[in-house]
């Protein structure tokens, strides 16, 4: 231990000074030739990759936009899956209130109808789209139940019904095109829809009646301009 300790003491004495360490580093620092740093995106290969990536992006965005907006992209089209996915995202983003959800469903109905038209013109089966159209209508009407403003409810309902009527016309034409089994299914769907609409109509009328009643009640009540005074007069009557 003694020996090691003595050696350690000699070692400590032989330590370089801080000034020398700093001065030498400064000297070395001046000698260091720092090569300009090349980041990976500055490499020549990355230029080609960037071009390729932007092409892929442009194509992707272009394809997505086309799939989303065109009625040509329907259940018989390979891009239909992409279209549905974009619509799902749109629903999540846009439909935040019952009003916006009902409006969105009305817009979806328009889309499905346009698709049915195209499919029909090509004499292709459009059962799936029709089924979706019904579901969309159902969802739209459900959302309407939660719309508080009757005025807004009326406007959206009108839009949905318009699509429904339009669809009815399409279906009449479709009977000529679709096979017999499909025809039966469509008729069943139509009946379901009519029932649904009846129920919806009844609900709407009930609501209107309620509002009307409330309005009448309010009109019949005497208008008390000085409520405090009136109450003060009523008190002695009750005590007697």
């Amino acid at each position: 231990m003694f020996l090691k300790y003595k050696l350690w003491k000699i070692k400590k004495i032989a330590n370089p000074s801080k000034q020398f360490r700093a001065a030498l580093w400064q000297k070395l620092e001046r000698e260091i030739i720092v090569e300009p740093r090349v980041y990976f995106w500055q490499m020549p290969v990355m230029r080609y990759a960037a071009v390729a990536l932007s092409l892929v992006l442009a194509l992707g965005i272009g394809t997505g936009a086309y799939a989303y907006s065109s009625p040509e992209v329907n259940e018989a089209h390979p891009l239909y899956g992409l279209k549905k996915e974009i619509e799902k995202i749109e629903e999540r983003v846009v439909a935040r209130t019952p009003e916006s959800l009902a409006t969105f469903q009305a817009k979806q109905m328009e889309r499905r109808l346009a698709e049915i038209e195209r499919l029909q013109s090509r004499k292709l089966n459009f059962e799936k789209t029709l089924d979706e159209l019904n579901k969309t209508e159902e969802a739209g009407l459900k959302a309407l139940d939660f719309v508080t403003s009757l005025k807004v409810q009326g406007i959206i309902k009108q839009r949905i019904n318009l699509q429904g009527e339009e669809r009815q016309k399409q279906l009449e034409k479709a009977k000529m095109v679709l096979p017999q089994e499909a025809e039966k299914r469509i008729e069943a769907m139509m009946q379901k829809r009519e029932k649904r609409l009846e129920i919806q109509e009844q609900k709407f009328e009930k609501k209107l009646e309620q509002i009307e009643k409330q309005r009448e009640e309010i009109q019949q009540q005497p208008i008390n301009i000085l409520p405090n005074k009136g109450r003060a007069e009523e008190k002695p009557k009750n005590s007697n």
């Binding site: 020996l3 090691k4 003595k6 050696l7 350690w8 003491k9 000699i10 070692k11 004495i13 032989a14 330590n15 370089p16 020398f20 360490r21 030498l24 580093w25 000297k27 070395l28 620092e29 000698e31 260091i32 720092v34 090569e35």
Partner: protein, 178 residues
């Protein structure tokens, strides 16, 4: 090469190399500083050849040892050298034992070793064989680990440990005699 890499390298090896040089030039502080500067400038110029994973301390140690050998050759001084030179080459002539005895206490050592016990220890160190002295100097005066010493001297970590232990036992005998 990046500045950060060399800075890290410099901070890791600076003290050890300085002390190694300091003891080889017998405590001549100014000379030790000059030689250390030259060694690190050499290292900087050849830093692209340095492979941290492979050589670690051995690379800079070889530069330092060769640089010292060149220095002593140029100045005409004779220095001690290991009987088994590290890279298999003999660079410098071997000093006589009589010269070694006086050399460590000559020049700068007188200036910084003030206590008698420390001076005696250096005298005892002079009496060791060249290989034993090198091991003790590298381990206890320069501050290298057994692993680093093994890499520098081309032996295993265990062998370096055993050899250093034996050198210390030898040193103890001389210390008790003084």
């Amino acid at each position: 090469m990046t500045k950060n890499n060399f800075e890290k390298f410099y901070n890791t090896h600076f003290d050890k190399i300085y002390r190694f040089v300091f003891f080889r030039v017998r405590g001549n502080k100014e000379l030790a500083e000059d030689l250390t500067s030259e060694i690190f400038i050499k290292a900087l110029k050849n830093f692209d050849a340095y492979e941290e994973e492979k050589s670690k301390s051995a690379w800079i140690f070889t530069i330092a040892r060769n640089h010292l050998a060149n220095h002593f050759r140029d100045t005409g001084k004779r220095v001690e050298i290991s009987l088994e030179a590290i890279d298999g080459e003999t660079h410098i002539e071997i000093e006589s034992q009589e010269e070694i005895k006086t050399n460590l206490l000559a020049d700068g050592f007188e200036q910084f070793v003030k206590k008698d016990t420390e001076r005696e220890l250096l005298q005892a160190l002079n009496k060791l064989s060249v290989d034993a002295r090198q091991l003790v100097t590298l381990k206890y005066l320069s501050g290298y680990s057994y692993k680093e010493i093994g890499e520098m001297l081309g032996m295993s970590e265990g062998a370096a440990k055993v050899a250093t232990y034996r050198a210390m036992q030898e040193l103890k005998k001389y210390v008790s005699k003084i």
